[in-house]
């Protein structure tokens, strides 16, 4: 299935305006693994005929890693430039598959003049299913499988979104198994706060390995998550445990796209 994506600039030229902007994010744009998540989400949006657009080359880093690393200048520079572009297109609603972008756009942009309704892609997919726009083919892809959900900190604790991704897993006809540390007590994957871009400080263990052990204890075949960074960290953890042939780390969007035969 070919994916259809239009940019805000193209839409404006055609005198159209989308109902929602898909904020792809840097990981979703450049990281090979995360690009698959981006495409899975676009397939879902296409299937449901959602009138959406992306910023394309006009999009820039939300500034989250800069802010968490302590560089408020770089963060605000990015934020103000992005807000100028978003406001220029009169964007009202944004969906993103990255909880870090989600958090910055939703919570930190309003104070700098960027006021949008921002939702996480799991919330959008949930809406699409509830409104009947998306139906999952009964293809038995996940029948009898155990799936555990790793809560991204910036979706869960940071913004109290715990249920949308879980309700989607339950739609898959799979068994949702929880890790001992989950929801508000979930353990970080180790990537937040700009750790993604540096070596960990000296310690006795890598955080992603500690977290992967939580996931392994559930005997799940699939570790689902909703964040490109968590995806990287958990995938590395699974490789470290040499379980990559039996356990897969997948984004909720990919699971849903599979179940909908997209």
């Amino acid at each position: 299935m070919n994916i259809q994506v239009r940019t805000m600039a193209e839409m404006l030229a055609a005198n159209e305006s989308p109902e929602i902007l898909f904020w792809v994010g840097c990981a979703g744009s450049f990281d090979d693994r995360a690009k698959k998540i981006t495409k899975a989400l676009v397939k879902i949006l296409n299937q449901c005929k959602v009138n959406f657009a992306i910023l394309g080359t006009e999009e820039s880093c939300s500034g989250d890693p800069a802010k968490r690393a302590g560089n408020e200048f770089t963060f605000q520079m990015q934020a103000l430039m992005n807000i100028e572009i978003l406001n220029g297109y009169a964007v009202k609603k944004i969906v993103t598959a990255c909880p870090h972008c989600f958090n910055s756009l939703k919570n930190e942009y309003p104070g700098l003049g960027g006021n949008y309704e921002v939702i996480h892609h799991t919330q959008l997919i949930q809406d699409l299913i509830y409104s009947g726009k998306l139906t999952l083919a009964d293809n038995g892809t996940f029948k009898g499988k155990k799936i555990t959900f790793h809560d991204p900190c910036y979706l869960g604790r940071a913004n109290d979104v715990y249920e949308a991704p879980r309700e989607l897993i339950l739609k898959l006809d799979a068994e949702l198994v929880e890790m001992k540390r989950c929801k508000a007590n979930g353990l970080c994957c180790g990537a937040g706060g700009a750790q993604m871009f540096k070596e960990a400080e000296k310690g006795s263990k890598e955080i992603n390995i500690e977290r992967t052990e939580d996931a392994l204890q559930t005997n799940a075949q699939i570790i689902a998550t909703g964040c490109p960074f968590c995806n990287t960290m958990m995938t590395d953890g699974i490789k470290h445990a040499q379980k990559e042939s039996t356990i897969h780390v997948m984004d909720i969007a990919e699971l849903i796209a599979n179940a909908a035969d997209l």
Partner: protein, 436 residues
């Protein structure tokens, strides 16, 4: 004579306590301003649920129940303290007993039951610390004084409860010996004769009752004045600290207004780069080097911390052996604040002792271990926010000292040059849509 001693003791101890509280308030005022006076209804609700209702304690039910026994006993015993004050100042004996009758018997019995429960709770807490060696209560930042402090508080509680039962028990035994009557207080009715039934000298029993009474009130005064030097201040600060909680989503980190001004100037093509800044605020430091650069709420957080270590026990960095411990961040902030506050009181408001929170107390290795995951903030039973301090200190390292891990310099350069944390050209941002 008794009344005089009591009056002087009460006056001295409340006076000294007030003086120390004033010093603590002064120390908290060393912090930067922050407006937390909005959304009053939501703030009251948070305080009632989290501080009064102990909502977050119940994530760990055993500790919560043990803590509840001591908390409830402490709060309810304050009623009895009113009578102790009246008796102490007027020389009366159980001032309310006759006028309140059955209600009095009920109240004191209730206090006695709670005191017994608190006694058990305190013993269990001592055992958890010293015999079961609960990991979070035996970490390296607790070595020395913090461990002694914790045990001392528990021992003081035991002595206090022992005094209550000596007082009520001896009173009961004396009443029985003298006129074969009973106070009918639920616990001392049986404990009294059990402990003191063998004594057939009324005078000895009266002295024992007095020892209990004086012991009790002296422990109360001592405890009150010990508080400002102890982690135990949380019994007061839990309330204002939860009232002034951050109400925004946990993920939201405040945008620094001083930076907004400068960035807007940089982005404005019409701005005159040589114009003098118009804002009246003095050129503040970006981020925090010392406690005077933190907000007053971060400083109140530090005084509220009772070093329970729930934050550290859920910190991904600490769990995996890194140097960072959110509890230590709070303890360091408080210790540094006390140190600087004392120095300034001695040497004048503007004086500096040449030390700072960053460097002398908290190392950059600790700060760079944080994943900003908010687990510590989520876990704190009284809504302390260690992350806010960590971010403020990181900001100073990065914006004032350019003291940053080299990989992060690379990440920041990439964002500034090509709008992504990795080295990809921004015109390749849409390539994914054309790839198979």
């Amino acid at each position: 004579m008794h009344q005089l001693i009591f009056g002087v003791l009460a006056l001295l101890s409340t006076g000294f306590f007030a003086f120390n509280l004033y010093k603590i308030a002064q120390n908290i005022h060393l912090g930067l301003p922050l407006n937390r006076s909005d959304q009053k209804a939501k703030r009251w609700k948070t305080m009632l649920l989290v501080a009064l209702g102990q909502k977050k304690m119940f994530n760990r039910p055993i500790a919560a129940l043990l803590h509840l026994t001591i908390y409830a006993a402490f709060v309810i015993t304050q009623i009895e303290l009113i009578e102790i004050f009246i008796d102490g100042l007027s020389g009366s004996h159980r001032y309310f007993q006759h006028s309140l009758g059955a209600f009095y018997t009920f109240t004191i019995s209730f206090i006695e039951i709670l005191s017994i429960l608190a006694f058990i709770g305190t013993l269990a807490f001592l055992a958890r610390r010293n015999m079961l060696k609960l990991p979070r209560l035996n970490m390296k930042e607790l070595a020395g004084w913090p461990t002694k402090d914790a045990n001392l508080i528990l021992i003081m509680e035991i002595v206090l409860i022992a005094c209550i039962f000596t007082m009520n028990g001896a009173d009961e035994a004396a009443l029985k010996l003298h006129s074969n009557l009973s106070n009918d207080f639920l616990i001392s009715k049986s404990i009294g004769p059990l402990l003191f039934g063998g004594i057939d000298n009324l005078n000895t029993l009266h002295i024992l009752e007095q020892v209990g009474w004086w012991g009790h009130i002296i422990m109360v005064f001592a405890f009150m004045n010990y508080l400002p030097y102890s982690k135990h201040l949380h019994i007061f600060f839990a309330f204002p600290n939860t009232y002034y909680s951050k109400l925004e989503p946990k993920g939201q980190i405040e945008n620094m207004p001083s930076v907004t001004n400068e960035v807007k100037l940089m982005l404005d093509p019409n701005a005159d780069p040589y114009s003098t800044p118009t804002n009246d605020a003095p050129a503040a430091r970006f981020g925090a080097k010392d406690i005077t650069d933190l907000t007053w709420k971060s400083l109140m957080d530090a005084y509220s911390c009772t070093e329970c270590g729930r934050c550290t026990s859920v910190c991904p960095a600490n769990i995996t052996g890194k140097l960072l411990s959110p509890r230590k961040i709070m303890m360091d902030t408080r210790d540094r604040m006390a140190e600087l506050g004392n120095y300034k009181r001695k040497n004048g408001k503007e004086s500096q002792d040449g030390k700072s929170l960053l460097g002398d107390y908290i190392s950059k290795e600790e700060l760079w271990a944080c994943t900003t995951c908010n687990a510590c903030v989520q876990e704190c039973p009284i809504n302390i926010d260690p992350l806010s301090i960590i971010i403020d200190l990181r900001r100073f390292l990065v914006m004032e000292e350019a003291n940053i891990p080299s990989e992060l310099t690379g990440m920041l350069t990439n964002i500034e040059n090509n709008g992504a944390p990795w080295q990809f050209a921004s015109n390749e941002r849409m390539n994914w849509s054309k790839e198979e």
